[in-house]
Homo-oligomer: 394 residues x 2
Amino acid sequence: MGTTLVVNPGSSSKKYALYKDGQPVSSWRYERGIGTQLCVQTGGSAAVCEPLTEAAFATATEDVLAAADEILKNDAVPTKLDTAVIRVVAPGTEFQTHQKITGVFVRLLRAQETVAPLHIPSVTKEIDSLQSIRPELPLFAASDSAFHATMSDHTRLYSIDASIAKEHDIYRFGYHGLSVASIVRRVHSVTGVDPKRMIVAHIGSGCSVTAVKDGQSVDTTMGFAPGSGLLMGSRGGDIDAGALLELMRVLHLTPTEAQMYLQTQTGLLALFGESDLRSLLDGYANDDRNAKAALYRFTLGIQHAIARSVITLGGCEMIVLTATAMERSPTLRELVVSGLSPLGVAINPDRNDALIGKEGVISTRGSECKVVVMRTDEMGEMYHVGQRLRASAG
Amino acid sequence: MGTTLVVNPGSSSKKYALYKDGQPVSSWRYERGIGTQLCVQTGGSAAVCEPLTEAAFATATEDVLAAADEILKNDAVPTKLDTAVIRVVAPGTEFQTHQKITGVFVRLLRAQETVAPLHIPSVTKEIDSLQSIRPELPLFAASDSAFHATMSDHTRLYSIDASIAKEHDIYRFGYHGLSVASIVRRVHSVTGVDPKRMIVAHIGSGCSVTAVKDGQSVDTTMGFAPGSGLLMGSRGGDIDAGALLELMRVLHLTPTEAQMYLQTQTGLLALFGESDLRSLLDGYANDDRNAKAALYRFTLGIQHAIARSVITLGGCEMIVLTATAMERSPTLRELVVSGLSPLGVAINPDRNDALIGKEGVISTRGSECKVVVMRTDEMGEMYHVGQRLRASAG
């Protein structure tokens, strides 16, 4: 048991958390864009947020490391930071294991920047900052795909020539693995069971549905890159190859341009005009026609993916709804679950309405497959990954 | 009631049928590739097949027209051919209605050749032949997408910018519409009911699953082009945008080259080494490991699509299995249906084994959703389309 800084860098937000002896001590959340702010949470108290300048976003790593030092120094038994873990979202078999970050790792990661332009640059930048500020601090990569390494060839392989796939490392890697792993780790403590066949719907700014059998991933909606599968804020996961190729042909897009277009200009943004699910839910509450249509389609996609998972698993004991949108919005949960009646799933509306920011069951007693709302704990999962790697490196 | 020649041109086969007063009188099937042959069926008798030279494939239109003339001339009351109908498989709102073939239609169709290189060239070539041999014969297009024109915006629209979609006509058109329409037309005569919520799985050399509500298409697996959705012989329907873009980047493929690659080099061909479902089923029967893996994946995709349709429809009264593979292979049917138990569907193995080349129910009495095997009748549907168009053209 030691002291770990967990780092979760994104394009529009950066999250940091300090863990000491297995417990989160303090966390920092930098948000950029609409409502640029820094929220700090210490111990069990509520987060304190304040507006942020662009310059403060740039010095986040340095400031957080200094703040962490200060906290650890002032403890009853003063300590120092001994581990850092960073979340890595990147296509590639190389990146599908949790590992120590080395020079080779960083070079390989940088080479993939064009493939996942929304995810990788913020990670390599953060690694650079951490390593230049604290060159002596052991730094580990928590892979967001590692949890899906258990997927069989049926799911992992695209139906393209095997030698091309191998040479160019084109496989379905899957993402949101840290989130799903955190659900698997915590599900027994929340529900009292370890379901044999469980479906995890992670609906946040990224969205995915994963089929979990005996605690292992057997299928997930995201594939090679984190843009595929479900419709998301600015990502149109559901665009098929024929339509994409026609779009590239008529708009004269290169693969890299098309990738950027799909990741930033499609999804809810294209259907509704805004990428934020909260705006969509506000529009729905105000009976806005476009919002209702986009939300219907968004939830239909999630329902389709859950049904797909039920087939893959050969049944279902539990559906876990997690990540921001699912944790906070009873409306979204009701819309999703109400469409699952052909699968023998039924919602208890009172219990659903009562659960906001809390965990628990929202399905009826008679529901064959239980529906549970859980907090995702990616940061906690990364802490555990760091602990395991440090122990095995030690 | 008149005399109609129905023409169904493909890249490796061409089918013709002569209808007189609502009944098929004679049919011709030209097959190219392995076992190049011509099969002729007259009246209710069995088809007579003979080997074919490449030259005979080229003069098919002329030969069939001459043979049709001969048949009609020798009738008790001699008649002449008065209508021809050709199947058109092409992306585009323009092509999503059945219509008379005009010069404008042919020009628009030719402009789409690069978008559907496997389907359009054989159609334009056949139209040219028919019009040059019989310029006076009224020629109609039976659209393979028309049946899906009832799909709502939720299904028809990709989540891309609406103005781009409109300007470049990029929508989910769907295909196999003539086949599904023939099922809707005949389902009552086979089963005694018109199911409110029906799912049609068309599994032949092309594969699709369509959700039908009150006789109308509400969703289907194929999208803009006929290559999307399910895994097929040489088409890898399930490849997501991220993987496709990476493939194009590393192989330096243009959109047109990528389209051709996806349509001819992926699917079962890439997974198993052969594109013919019959070879795959033979391999399965011989316990071939690769065949078993590819077949598992092929059937899993069909099951996923059926589950998706059940969600879209909010339930299911009937699943219809149709087209060559489903009509002929009890093994394939059993593999597909056995994975649907989470949807309350169960197969009666004896009835399934007994149904080869025949129509009927193969689900158990207790099955909530009935499973029915039916012959597809695309040719008959095209005949009806021709009749309606000729009547409305006055």
